[in-house]
């Protein structure tokens, strides 16, 4: 069901990638460069199948607790998101954000980043901050809420 648009999309991307002769007439997406040496899968494969890989990884992480450092959405961000010239990270809506470069081009909207951060960051459990406020001195208890 959901595979049909994906297949059409894959065909479109494949057609764009495999037809340099047409490139002159077609505007091409400007894909920001990645940091790492190579992706977790061959680039050609990722272009067509990244969504299935992400769906599988997401299921495994959420349901089975199988968490990969690189093969994960945060892993993707760590290689594919860099600071812009002005020193900030592109927002999830920005056309300069890696995912948007192609997704805008092909008109496929994604909603990953309404929950997930689109910035690089440490993958894996973060330590509990030792500098946390002293007991009783935090702002979580609202005045007058505990009636």
């Amino acid at each position: 069901m959901a595979a049909i648009p994906r297949i059409l999309l894959s065909l479109l991307i494949a057609a764009v990638a495999a037809a340099p002769a047409v490139a002159g007439r077609l505007p091409r997406p400007e894909i920001p460069a990645a940091k790492g040496a190579h992706c977790v899968r061959p680039t050609e494969w990722m272009r067509k199948n990244h969504m299935q890989l992400l769906m599988r990884l997401r299921y495994e992480a959420v349901h089975d607790g199988i968490r990969h450092r690189q093969e994960s959405l945060p892993g993707c961000m760590n290689c594919h998101v860099s600071r812009l010239a002005n020193g900030t990270y592109p927002s999830a809506n920005s056309p300069q954000f890696f995912c948007n470069a192609c997704h805008r081009y092909v008109g496929v909207s994604i909603d990953c980043f309404s929950c997930h951060t689109n910035r690089p960051g440490p993958v894996g459990p973060a330590p509990v901050k030792a500098s946390a406020p002293a007991p009783g001195a935090n702002g979580t208890r609202p005045a007058g809420a505990a009636r």
Binding site: M1, D111, T140, R141, P142, A145, A146, R147
Partner: protein
Amino acid sequence: MSAIHYREIEGRGAGFWVLAALLAGLIAAGLTAAWFMEHIGHVITGMTNQVVWGMPHVIAVFLIVAASGALNTASIASVFGKVAYKPLARLSGLLAIALLSGGLLVLVLDLGRPDRLAVAMTHYNFRSIFAWNIFLYTGFLAVTGAYLWVMMERRLNDHTRRVGTAAFLWRLILTTGTGSIFGFLVARQPYDEAIMAPMFILMSFAFGLAILLLVLMSACKATGRPLGDAIVMRLKNLLGVFAAAVLYFLLAFHVTKLYQAEFDGAEAFLLRDGGVYTLLFWGGAVFLGGVLPMLLFWLPQTRRSRAAVVWGSLSVVAGGLALLYDIIVGGQAWPLSIFPGMQVSSSFYDGVVNAYTPSLPECALGLAGCAWAAFVTLFALKLLPFMPQSLADDAVEPPARIAGAGATDAAA
């Protein structure tokens, strides 16, 4: 007269278009509200982490419950063979579909992620009564649609009884499912009674019939079609019985609760100390929903009055909304009992009565569901012959015959 003649309403006058425009405006306002609720978030509603279901759910549940009740008139005709109700069977089926679609519209647009409706259609947890309801609702639309078809297509009239029976059983299961959404919630003291399922069925009988009566009387009046006392008084008496039955179930429900010391606090809140919820229960559900209609329908001074039928039906609708607000919102206002017998306080509203004030967007969304139901009904009446040309007394009291065997269509 032996044949019932159905005909579309004309729908050309200024009144028709003004009404249509008004309803379209309400629908547009509700859709706008839903867009804001999705894009800004539920922060613009009165619903919180304490009162998680609010006004949209009150109205949606009302419409859904009323939808299954609206079908009853048709069922009485085709399943139980009461010929006198037969002329209303088509209108009854139409209202069922219109009301249910209005309720579903509200329910779906209130979701945190209405964009994921496809997920709700492809991922099912069959232990969830909510998931079953998705099938019950869509199935109800399909079965009622088929029912209307066999009633309106003369060559299929012979199947009316069979399809009508299926629709009747389906609607009983559907309302059981709707009542069980609340009845199965063991965590919340104001719910947690299996009697809520049959209570919802009786509520549906009353709400649906009240709406049918109101639509019937206003449509006949607006189109100048004769509407005899025979049918109106018959329906009115039935509505009085249904209103009384709802009162009976409310009594049984609360007496059961009061008998168990565990629920004393919750019951005292809802019935005595709950402020607006207490008022809605006694003034709304009991008086408007039950006592006043019965008085209007049966007191010697008003029992022959058409106006009393209209006011009584409106009163049942108002009482029904009050009852659902009381059940849904009042049931959440009462705090959860996590530490029974203890006094509790926290930064997360433990142990306090939760406040809820409906906001404009959520009311607009709820109203849009009602407007949608009315809009669908209005245009269906214009496009297809749902309404009998005459419901004058001599047209609706045919000699006793088996239902479904004699009606001829005269769709001009």
